[in-house]
Symmetry: C2
Amino acid sequence: MTTSRRTTLKHIAHELGITTTTVSCILNDTGGKYAEETRKKVLDTAKRLRYRPNALASGIRGGKIHVAGVMIQNRGHFSTEIINGIHDKLLENQTIMFLTWNSAKHTKSWDETAEQRTIHHLIDRRVDGIILSTSNENFDHCYFEEIWERNVPLILVDRQIPSISADFIGTDNQVLGALAAKHLLDLGHKRFLFCSNSHVGNAVQREEAFAGVLSSQPGTTFRSIDFMATDCSDQLRDAFGSAATRPTGVLCINDWTAIEVRRVAAAMGLEAPRDFSIIGSGDQHFTDPFAQNLTTFDQKPYWIGQCAAQCYLSRVHSQRKKGDPQIITIKPELLLRGSTAPLSP
Amino acid sequence: MTTSRRTTLKHIAHELGITTTTVSCILNDTGGKYAEETRKKVLDTAKRLRYRPNALASGIRGGKIHVAGVMIQNRGHFSTEIINGIHDKLLENQTIMFLTWNSAKHTKSWDETAEQRTIHHLIDRRVDGIILSTSNENFDHCYFEEIWERNVPLILVDRQIPSISADFIGTDNQVLGALAAKHLLDLGHKRFLFCSNSHVGNAVQREEAFAGVLSSQPGTTFRSIDFMATDCSDQLRDAFGSAATRPTGVLCINDWTAIEVRRVAAAMGLEAPRDFSIIGSGDQHFTDPFAQNLTTFDQKPYWIGQCAAQCYLSRVHSQRKKGDPQIITIKPELLLRGSTAPLSP
DNA sequence: TTGAAAGCGCTAACAT
DNA sequence: ATGTTAGCGCTTTCAA
């Protein structure tokens, strides 16, 4: 079919009347001493024939293929930046990545098995390791076992899976919760609300840290609402209903939730920062009007990505034994954009 | 070294006292008739041993590996959406992608050879084809030749390379220029400006279309500024300097340029839409204040990505002959966000 | 209905 | 300083 077969070691060897071994060793600088003349001939011919090694063939022999499998949630600017960080660090180390999302953004054809099939794509192509940001902390463990049994290094990003002992790089939720609490307290707020959209680890930790700092302050009240609840809008309207008890210091698990809260509040005639102060997280660069002046946390996603890739590389190359997982947390930075203000008297 | 060798066809065959051929044929449903009993035993054993095929080994035999190489410019939300489109369409077809940017976002270690080295990464891993958004329309052709000679299908996205006869999917610049002109004319503007940041094909085509529509209207003036010019700020200040001749209808090649224009104008006390109307392009979701109410074009990047992947797939699978490049243009949509207004009297 | 054998491109151990 | 050989995991004739 193909008229022009791609040039292989054999072609070069044949052309020069030598062995593929010789050619291989010279091109890879392995195996020591070869005549300068031979070396030159080989290099010249390789260049002339535009030889390019076949990484599949070397990979098949059990070596590393210098490819990482990356599977990540599709969450806008935040995950894009994580990917950028991973990409740049990997490429510095001659490694490229299979990138897959664990959900299709616009296509609805994403059934429950799709995530698992994607993992299989990665395994079948024999990636050296996998960097993963899970969509669901509690889903079926069976394909983690698949990864685990194969001794494929697994690095988790942003979302930890409690039952899996793998390396993890994510946001320092203690710091995040504490910074938010401190900022709102400094502005004079007394009644606080924490809004999450699911009961994931990040939410639990942030709520604990947030509430923890608040509880040390006399005269404060705290309440939390989970947007996964079916009656969350009711809860929110209830919380905002009475001016006397209305929370004025609100921390949200992410920018989506913050926007949603502002939308519900707006429908009640309440707006930030006039009537309440609100903080999101993730710096998602939304075009939604309610996101424009939203004070939020920069979770340093690019840096998270870099750390994840660094961790990946050290796992893949040094083959640290599993069982000593490395946990790295990155301190977030509060970005003051204008949705918080001193408590109006 | 590794205690647990991954299970291969040989393991299954050995366990059952049959040949790898049989196992292979049964698992792949090739080669016709096998006893139902054998078939069942093979499938059961494969599942029990968690067999997964080695795509490297099949790939080495010259077949497709169902992997696309994707190299794309790092341009925020716009390219992220293109990638999403590509990803979803590819995955529907059991294909995954190597994703690489042709520039590092934050790292400065990006010399001129890096882009070429990245192409080599893709070629060495024997991708079935390449989807490429170039950083530079005029750069060295040598690695296109490398791709070309290998009969690797090449699909260009967003930026065309005039000298290469490859498939191309991008924005319909005629429509974009015309829509912008029409919108601004409807608002009563008479003096127009087009700002680009380099002399790429997209800029040339949009300027032509924009100016073309304007020229059919009596009493209009047109001027263009290239932000690649060293004295571009001077030119801009010059253009905005006199109230009598100041352009009030401005089209920019992208949102970056639009923001830059607004910044310079702001320094002169001019703001949109009060003193002039301005349109960007790309809907980049910037957090910059000057981007907040910026009227811009949605270039449908997700759809561009889907089309690119579709085109890729048809190339890779049907092996259409090269030499009949397919050019697909996607119509952009004007997003009215508030940086344009009727000409004030 | 199943098996034997060759080969994809490359590498590594072991000669010479 | 260079060559021989075997084998990675799989597929593909061709034979039994």
